[in-house]
Assembly symmetry: C2
Homo-oligomer: 400 residues x 2
Amino acid sequence: MYQLLNGLSLVEVSSFVASPTIGLYCAQFGADVIRVDQIGGGQDFRRWPVNERGDSFSWENLNRAKRSVALDLTKPEGRELLVRLCQQVGTLATNLPAKGFLAHDKLAQGRPDMISVRVMGWPDGAIALDYTANAVVGYPALTGHGDEPVNHSLPAWDFITGAYGAFALLAAVQRRTATGLGGEVRLPLTDIAIGTVANLGRVAEVLYSGHDRPRLGNAVYGTVGRDFVTADGVRVMIVAINERQWQGLLRALDIGAAIAGIETRESVCFAENDGMRYAHRDAIFAVMEAAIAPLSHAELAERLDAQGVTHGPYKTLPQAMEDDRLFTANPMFAQCDSNPSGFAYPAAGAFATIPQMERAPAAPAPLNGQHTEQVLAEKLGLSSGEIARLIDTGIAGVAQ
Amino acid sequence: MYQLLNGLSLVEVSSFVASPTIGLYCAQFGADVIRVDQIGGGQDFRRWPVNERGDSFSWENLNRAKRSVALDLTKPEGRELLVRLCQQVGTLATNLPAKGFLAHDKLAQGRPDMISVRVMGWPDGAIALDYTANAVVGYPALTGHGDEPVNHSLPAWDFITGAYGAFALLAAVQRRTATGLGGEVRLPLTDIAIGTVANLGRVAEVLYSGHDRPRLGNAVYGTVGRDFVTADGVRVMIVAINERQWQGLLRALDIGAAIAGIETRESVCFAENDGMRYAHRDAIFAVMEAAIAPLSHAELAERLDAQGVTHGPYKTLPQAMEDDRLFTANPMFAQCDSNPSGFAYPAAGAFATIPQMERAPAAPAPLNGQHTEQVLAEKLGLSSGEIARLIDTGIAGVAQ
């Protein structure tokens, strides 16, 4: 938690990963994020992983540092309260449909400078998820070693969309501050996926060459990078990303003569040309394999570090959690004892580190409806009698 | 291109993917992004994919809509000019080392409210890349079908870091506007990777259960989702992400009775419990396979669409580029004829769509040094004689 966005208030009506991440990142930078959910929790409230009583570890980490308002959104009065709350606050992040009861035009009728940031599937409103957007833009066809498509297990498009959504929200707020104008920022997962493909030059590559690049297994496109196994059985990802690292790699593995042999045999020059190194990667990888096979991981790491070559061992998550720099001594993590699940553990705060500011520890997620009374009074000016009526009639819910 | 960030000016000194993406997203929202490179191009200037003369399609798509200043950064006078430019503009995005000549403290000595956003490998300054950060946090160990780790081919951490970096930059600018204070925002790839793991609840899951989740191949954790092959050989990713979609899936495939059979046999109830559906996924997948095998892709898609179930066929990128919604009729893409490579093709603009604003077409990347004279005059107030001397002495470069 860093206090960068004090004064920014945001209603979030969202589920799963991308849309909640927008609010999470803003909340971790000090914004007041008011998450509004169905009483008892929305469709992502029990999303696995869960504890024995079904409390979601996913939900409670994607919704840290937010406030929670619970309403019955199946009833017109609950929806009307949410619309009023959005209009009062003026800024909304959601993945609800563009033409539903939180349609931007409807909100803007009561709040002309309304800003809505909307995560979508396809631009036309058709549904898509990270997993289907990934399939249709072709990444699984390039991933893995065999002939069949392989999904990434990281929901990468969700997280790219969430971070980009937080960025777009602040950009829209900056424009509103400067001009008084609001608007709806639509973020279709499929546009973010194909746009990212294009930004890597791959659309141009296909149009220029007439075909897609080959599937590379664990090798890196366009440079010298792949996984290798040491004498003690540790698999290590090694990438020589620039000229300095390439020269360092030759020294670290003492393979200068063998690589020069390839250059002579193939009549090529690898210096200052990582594309050429990539084109001859199979021969280079064979030389690297032979040099790495007799080394222990400790020896290999020492040699690569001494020459400034990028490398990292493959770990499982439990192994990663034994690493000081990643987890056990990482100041990004702080013990959180008051999670809704009742389980206490170190929780991640903001990804950024700002040496000039104090990092406040990660705050817990709210209980469903924990701030219903507070927010209805503060933002909508409802009296305690009015709020009691809403609770009694089941329109509003409060934490048990 | 949308004009949301008019008035924001930013110096970018960066290479590869994450750091240039910060500037790209800002430039596509109307910020003035001044990229400063070594004369003739930095270490990513020839990054593959390239055309026949070696111009990078990757570089020219990651650097659209920016201005380019070329300096000899190996010489003290070139570095000093860059430091002055950073201090004059007041905002920097970079992946240069924290302790190098663009160290934040040094910049802040001449510009107390300086903001630096710095993409790093590890928090302690050790090098890491997307591929090594991914290996150390354990995603390859969960990806694919076999026993060996599989890298994702998408550099996901780079893009998450780039989007988060653009967000953090705007957050820091908002704080400076409110308080007059600057600061350095450090973004280590490894923190973003392990922090994202934690935000998905996976750190809590490991601490609670004592072990990691299993490798799932192309199945989705915690719900009903996997790839299936139709009678005409089309592989389709199908996800029933919520209760409504689960009920829709039963109707679409006419498998209600078969699924009820599993519930009876196993004494479980799948309704309102996607975790339970996930736990019994093998039995459910077998029923789905049998129902899908006789259907053509067209039949399957029609049935799933009619019931609102999420699905998407696996495509290669060339196949994706034949899709109207993704590419050929997608207004996010606009023909760009003046790319540095000389190759003309449709280029992606901002990922966001804002119905209330006009989308300007994607702008081209600059030539190396195209704006050197303009920026040195405009930002540093150098005379034309002074600029001519810098060019003559090889300290500054201009586009050929």
